[in-house]
Amino acid sequence: MADSLYVHIPFCRQVCGYCDFAKARYSETLAERYLDELEKELLSLPETAFKTVYIGGGTPSALSEKQLERLLQMLSRFPISEEYTMEVNPESLSEGKALLMKKHGINRVSIGIQSFNERLLQEMERQHDARDITNTFRYLDQAGITNRSIDLIYGFHSQSVEDVLKDLETAVSMDITHVSIYDLEVHESTSLGRKGYTKADEETDFLMYQTIIDYLNSHGFQQYEISNFAKAGYRSRHNLTYWQYRDYQGAGLAACGKTGNIRYENTHNFAEYLKGSWRGEQITLSHDDLIFEAVMMGLRVIEGIDIADFNRRFACDLVSKYRQAIAENTERGLLTLTEDRRKVTGQGIYVLNDILIDFMN
């Protein structure tokens, strides 16, 4: 049985300039119809316990209180043993919603801050301001949800390394346990993409990333994945499910799941989803696919891949299967092989794609 469940809520109060997830402007009636369908989909899942559940989006907090309650009610049929996360955005969280979340057992939030710099927030077409952030933390305090992650973005054209440092300084001063910080990607389909937005130059971008790693590691937030940093004991268990390539279910528009060698992806088309044809495509992964994807996900984790565990789970011999790729990248100082773990080195994480291409035999 799958360890984890992902639930997608594809609504936002305002669509951000950089976002290429499946989402739409929030409307009450549309959200209502969506929840009707989502309910059916969730009911089609067997009633099992999950170690982790993650409600993402879009912006789950964009739902009205009533709708949020309905959503959490639907999910209450699944016992959740470890971690129950919901994404919230500062402009749409309210005290009422925070209390509801607590009431239904949500024990972790991921807050879409993106930056503390108002000019940059405008540049990325975000709606919230500093006051919204203060309020968000107050509501969470009141509800007693203390395991908090924040999302940040760097790599903007008009951003300096100093700007990044300021965001980091603010971040570590807050009452949070976890930081996800992403390099800006400009996708053609987004508003920034259509405007032809260019991001920070490569040198600056690289320096920002190195600065982030240095800063957070030395301020109590240990890097444990390419873009994720956590205080001791606060790694995202849900996301580790993905990186350790364990099974997970997905529900909602464009959600994905994997069970054994089957991966499915729900439709990205709203109309289709609302008609009840949730499932988009389903593919059967070959043994080689499984092994490669497990490597592709596993090497993202700084601790690396536990070789003994890997070999047992995928019935293979990782080291001999990828002998050449491993030798070449070890030679270049990009990979290290310790007794039972293979990990990318400090240099290797910058060029993980190159390493993975070598693994694509």
């Binding site: 690289f206 390419i226 270049r332 994480i349 993980l352 794609n353 291409i357």
Partner: protein, 600 residues
Amino acid sequence: MEQKYIRNFSIIAHIDHGKSTLADRILELTNTVEQRDMVSQILDDMDLERERGITIKLNAVSLIYKADDGHDYLFHLIDTPGHVDFSYEVSRSLAACEGAVLVVDATQGVEAQTLANVYLAIDNNLMVIPVINKVDLPSAMPEQVREEIEHDIGLDASDAPLISAKTGLNVHQVLENIVREIPAPDGDPKAPLQALIFDSYYDPYRGVIVFVRIKNGELKVGDTIKFMSNGLSYQVTEAGIRSPKEINKPKLECGEVGWFAASIKSVKDVRVGDTVTGAERPCREPLPGYREMQSMVYCGLYPTDNARYNDLRDALEKLQLNDASLKFEAETSQALGFGFRCGFLGLLHMDVVQERLEREYNLDLIATAPSVIYEVHMVNGEVRMVDNPAVLPPNQMIEYIAEPYVKAAIMSPSDYIGPIMELCQNKRGIYQDIIYMDDTRVQVVYELPLSEIIFDFFDKLKSCTRGYASLDYELIGYRKSELSKMDILINGEPIDALACIVHTQFAYQRGSAITRKLKDIIPKQQFEIPVQAALSGKVIARTNIKAYRKNVLAKCYGGDVSRKKKLLEQQKEGKKRMKAVGSVDIPQEAFMAVLSMDEE
């Protein structure tokens, strides 16, 4: 068929002016091809030709036309390729005809290639009859185009039919004009056999099929014939015409165009322009105009995947069965591994061969920059012919280097003399002559190093004359030049496949242009890469390719696996198109960069 009822002709036209469509329509109107069998543009039977809109392989079709005078006429329609690389083949095809139908697009008017081919036809004493095509299009300007034909080409166009090859409008008139204006062939049926070879192809079951025009005498199945250029004799096993399917005949008569087979093993023995005669009763002299096929341009072809070397050799051998002008021999490059040095008629020929290898034989290739053959005079008196800059002996062993020169005749409207001369001067040309053909047309004659015109000369010429100029060139021999080998070093290693031979005077300029160009072409890699140009070990130019810093996906969660894997696959594909030289991945374009001198 009596000789007076035979008409041999070609259709000449600029690309896209409707040559093939008119040929299709003629075949239809004469019921040569049933409409339902009609593959559009039946004469171009290679995919590549159809896609590029150019005809590479010549072909001939025979058809019967019942004219308004009540007689049946036997038409032989001979197709011609349309590029300067193949101008010799075009001229031999035209030499097999008495006339040519000139197709001009009513919306485009007279264009460069039109001129070039008309002059070739006139040189071969052909009767040229103009027709104005595409008059059904709203933007057609038939009267203006009629005037252009008279003024720019100097042909009488007052009777030129206004046609639409697409709809068939007035195509009948074209056929009548062919009957009326193109002369019947005038050979002597009783004389010894004298036939002109204008094409051939290899058939795995019957050997080489030879296309000929019987100038005098006749060619019968069972006869022993002889090729006059090489003296080889064969017995004719089959003969016939194409309509366009093959039709066997016991003999080909004087004035006719047709094919024969004689168990000939190799197309190399069958040379375009050569004369076929009887072994028993040979004619006294060969037909004029025969030229030995000469490779003008050489380049190295290498499989990106070294394991496919044998596949490449097999593919080249198969192509050569049908293309006697393709030459190749094995060579090794330190940078590129095992490959072949290949000789071509010109750059288009090179492109076509390369494209066919990639497309029909599914090979990924790296082509090195094309080179001419240099004559290297050594200090010890020895003379070596070098077609690959990489194998040029060290400078101290060389007395001097000579390079091939051509005499280039550029035909153009007189308005463009200035730009043409400027272009030729820039390409180290030596002015010879300007001949005024009439008050609007000139022929500009220059002597130029072949190496300067093999790359982009033709394109430049066309752009500086708005497409009106035509180019013909012939080799006039070797001349001593101030030439020197320039090495290109990537990451400190000289890359043999990037070496080039440059004129000393331009070395500095070219060295910096090449290094700058390579910097743009070679993608950033994990480490900084210096790119240098050096003459005799002395660096004369340098750039650096900066290392890229990051190549990692920032976000990758449960929903991203498929998408992110595709991204990696794309990156991997990109790498596959490159050749790993030492630790640097070099893309195919880099090997051509040594030729592009445009960016200053």
